[in-house]
Symmetry: C2
Subunit: 615 residues, 2 copies
């Protein structure tokens, strides 16, 4: 497109952003108007994308990191012929796929959900990594960012990662409209301030007038011809550009224009320009990683193995059997044992250094390109990426997360390193699966099972060694549990998972010596939970005792209650969990001090059977 | 101290780090040894600190951001005469206050818990902000960082914040020992790479040989004499410096030295140097902010007010009545209504821009200096700071967090903006308080009550207007609840909070028309929960229905169960919560679609009373 055509297209995008927001009665037209020229030039002259075949392997990928500018995105879809004007005007209405912030759940051209600022670039880095190191079909990744969101640290984790990996297939476009939600940004229109930062992090930078379509056109060409490093285009723009009543003015963020009809007239009226976006080049087959023989590791009963070791060995084996498996780690691969995978499959291993947000974002980006990521760090440090996990669930992204060093059982390192809130965090993620194995064979089976699930999958592993209690051919369906002890005289059910399974078995032995028979349930699938086994146990034994190496809120105790929250009778219940702030101590001392070791379980179980109040 | 004395002191710190780790059988001696010279010079020649009076207002503040180097910190305490050798050797043992990673819970010279990397500098910025803008007594803040942790985005949020606020009272010291946990860092010994980044962010930088005590001495002097911007000292060091068997070698992170006695000999043997750390200058009174008359806002019953508005008004009033109240916001003060405080008390308002980790870290730093912070953003975006909240609880920091725009009730903006996991996150924080008001008067009372609590306090507010249901003189004790409807014929108790209180009242009216009397409990204190009222309701009515604008895991439903997890009989229960992924829709449509509106409550309540299974 030539200059005047581009100008016209940009005005149409503005007009349609104003119209969509007006029809919705809400939305962010001014944030859309600032980036209209940037988007028009990209769409018309640079993006290679087949809207009829969004899964085309050669398609460029576009991420709207400033997700609130969704009217602009949907206006672009209309200009590209992907949606009709009638659908555009369903924006933000019940049942419309054109949500207030874009998600890929129903819109096939959206790569990832945005709306939590500072996430688009990190995820774009993940997509670009897939393109550069795995897919290798030459697609480019374009990420349109706001200037406000550059205050998020996650953006600089992404900047570091992208430059380190020489992602010259990645272009960040920053719509520097100088106004955040509540007022001016820190740096206003000082493009140099941003350029210095990106240059220091190893990026090529281009500064440009974001409303000069020819200059923008040249900037994109420069980005495409820059080799060996990612490019950021810093575009000086005006929020609300084109409508005097709102242009470059404060206090108008996230509001429809006060006089939309006048605004449309001021912008030159409605247009119906339809463009044919450049098609991607024909692409060869993707994911051409040779799969070998899948043979999961096996351990004999009674061996002592840490479940984190089993994770590492199982993942390495899964990677041999499946060519689409990739692994990520946050510079603790020697602890999580992701290093076992790295040794076997270095080409599919992504070292993310100590940047957990970027690690999860890269996993989301890799998953968006069809890869099967397993990302690991200490369970405690996954809290760093909570917002990215939350947004992954909004995307419906299929990612596997693994948290090692769960609970007080890690021992001397103390509370900063203990995952004690991870089950609560992961259970509350919509559509998630939460798994917590107690032995090596169970871990290996669950690592393999995770590959076939939807949504966010979480596996919790332990630092210390524990005895193998299951044979190598035992099966562990997701949503199931294992009854490890049962008799027809059971007066109590102890529900445990992970390290507390071994404590529960010892407690059951002790109580048996006291004449109290105890059922022991290994709740390796914390979500979904095995309702029928728990209900049967409740009916058979009358009362339940849960014990977990986790805070009392949101973990295994609460998961067990899920089985009884439908109006049926509820058994008598006691929950043992970590109620105090631990210090340093040996693993055994920690379990005892927290009141979740065998002795504590036996004591509480006895009280419960005797119908006393336990607190 | 002169050169040779400093060298000797540094060797003592190394020896004692080796000895403490050897006695513990775990710990990070090599990470301590790299920073021994940096620490010796700081302690002997630059730090102004009265170890007998850690609360002295003029004390400099030292933060060990690389918290795993705790042996070095405790060795420094010994050299400063604060602890004896016998206590040093209790390191990492049960009951010792010298934990694997430092916490201020029992050690008065520790400012904040560290051990989750990338948090020390952000919190140091908060302390430096207090020094610069509030305390104004000239103390300096010294933060010792590792090089690996510079990969954390939170470090760059802090770098941005510190330079923007011209914190020339802040010095970051980076121990660039080139080795992370599992191997080399991205930039190895390339000090320039780090210098470019910090310079771009507006910092003064000094590069130095971290084992040349004279050069380090000069670097600290340069930092102290640099005005208008923070300084970072980038120190080239060797991990395990001084012991050939471990110096600059991979694979030795977090392990005691293999031959500690030989290592001590190689380091010149044990020493018992005790130094007198420079005392701080006499300081004037701190916190000299004049308090005015405390008059909380009042609303009349039936008015329609959003609880976020009540938060803003209440906080502004509290700030007038209490001089120690400070407010922080993540560039959404017009939404959270923190702007009301900003308008009245600009000198005590901290704009953190879109950097939630830094916002919470700054709050922790301000609290460490005795200020009373209230930090607000959308509830959804507080997940970004989860790890900082977790670590705040390890510190025992007293901070108030406020999450606005809770739940699906926000309407059109969609799931990325909806706080649906925040109650689960905040409840699982050790020692936290979680409050969720349903009207304006209740909000104001709770905002005031939060000021008097310990630990992490969380208030959840709503975007939309709701009717005032309580009079302005009603009291709302933390840990209490309000029974809004009750009769002696109640057959069901509905437990609600926030927006669902109003839905529950409407449902009770509808059920009453059907001849079913319903008790309604407003559970404004989600943690701690009002066990006695819930138990009485269970005894009186036989069954409970909880309804919440939150995911089903970890929220109000689980909080209610806390009242019944001690072995007593449990009532029949049904939980209504947000089980699906919302899209865009109006607030009323959202509540209905999620199944948490009055009609849904009435339908579920009817089934429960009829003893049917509800699912």
């Amino acid at each position: 497109m030539n200059t005047s055509e581009l100008v016209e297209l940009a005005q149409q995008l503005r007009v349609d952003s104003v119209r969509a927001s007006a029809a919705a009665g809400s939305g962010h037209p001014t944030s859309s108007m600032s980036a209209a020229d940037l988007t028009a030039v990209l769409l018309a002259n640079h993006l290679r994308y087949d809207f009829d075949r969004p899964a085309h392997p050669g398609n460029d990928r576009f991420v709207l990191s400033k997700g609130h500018a969704s009217p602009l995105l949907y206006a672009a879809y209309k200009a590209a012929g992907a949606i009709e004007d009638g659908e555009l005007l369903t924006f933000r209405k019940l049942g419309s796929r054109l949500e207030g912030h874009p998600t890929p759940r129903q819109v096939p051209w959206v790569e990832t959900a945005t709306g939590s600022l500072g996430q688009g670039l990190p995820i774009g880095v993940g997509i670009a990594l897939a393109g550069k190191r795995l897919d290798r079909v030459g697609y480019r990744v374009w990420v349109l960012c706001g200037d406000s969101e550059l205050a998020e640290g996650s953006v600089w984790e992404a900047a570091e990662h992208a430059a380190y990996e020489h992602l010259d297939n990645l272009t960040a476009i920053v719509d520097v409209n100088r106004l955040g939600q509540r007022g001016p940004t820190r740096h206003g229109h000082d493009l140099d301030a941003y350029a210095r930062r990106f240059q220091a992090f190893g990026w090529h930078t281009v500064e440009v007038d974001g409303h000069d379509v020819d200059a923008v056109d040249r900037a994109y060409a420069e980005a495409k011809s820059t080799a060996g490093q990612p490019t950021v285009i810093l575009a000086r723009t005006l929020k609300g550009k084109g409508v005097a009543a709102v242009q470059d003015r404060e206090g108008l963020h996230g509001k429809p224009l006060p006089e939309p009809d006048e605004a449309v007239a001021e912008l030159g009226g409605e247009r119906d320009i339809r463009i044919h976006v450049h098609e991607p080049p024909a692409a060869r087959v993707l994911h051409a990683v040779r799969a070998g023989h899948l043979e999961m590791p096996r351990w004999e009963k009674g061996e002592k193995v840490a479940t984190r070791n089993a994770y590492g060995e199982a993942l390495a084996a899964l990677g041999t059997g499946r060519g689409d498996v990739v692994a990520l780690d946050g510079e603790v691969g020697d602890s999580t044992r992701a290093e076992f995978f790295a040794k076997e499959h270095p080409e599919r291993y992504f070292e993310c250094y100590i940047a957990e947000q970027q690690m999860v974002a890269a996993a989301v980006g890799l998953a968006a390109r069809g890869w099967l990521p397993y990302a690991a760090t200490f369970a405690a440090f996954l809290t760093r990426a909570h917002d990215f996990v939350r947004m992954a669930s909004v995307s419906g992204a299929g990612i596997n997360l693994v948290g090692s060093h769960a609970g007080v059982a890690i021992g001397q390192d103390g509370p900063s390193q203990m995952g004690l809130e991870d089950l609560a965090m992961m259970r509350a993620v919509h559509g998630s699966t939460v798994l917590y194995p107690c032995d090596a064979n169970q871990t290996a089976r669950l690592v393999a099972a995770m590959a076939g699930l939807e949504g966010v999958r979480y596996l919790r592993t332990s630092r210390g060694e524990s005895p193998v209690v299951y044979g190598p051919d035992e099966e562990f369906p997701v949503g199931g549990s294992k009854v490890l002890r049962a008799s027809d005289r059971d007066r109590l059910t102890v529900v445990a998972a992970g390290v507390t399974v071994h404590e529960a078995l010892a407690a059951a032995d002790a109580l048996d010596r006291d004449g109290i028979q105890v059922r022991v349930v290994d709740l390796y699938s914390v979500k979904p939970v095995d309702r029928s086994t728990l209900r049967r146990a409740a009916e058979d034994t009358g009362c339940l005792l849960t014990v977990e190496d986790h805070r009392e809120e949101g973990g295994i105790g609460d998961a067990v209650l899920d089985a009884f929250l439908d109006g049926r009778p509820v058994p008598r219940l006691v929950r043992l969990a970590v109620r105090r702030m631990p210090g340093s101590a040996s693993p055994d001392q920690q379990l005892h001090t927290a009141g979740i070791d065998a002795a504590s379980i036996a004591a509480a179980g006895k009280l419960l059977v005797e119908e006393a109040v336990v607190r």
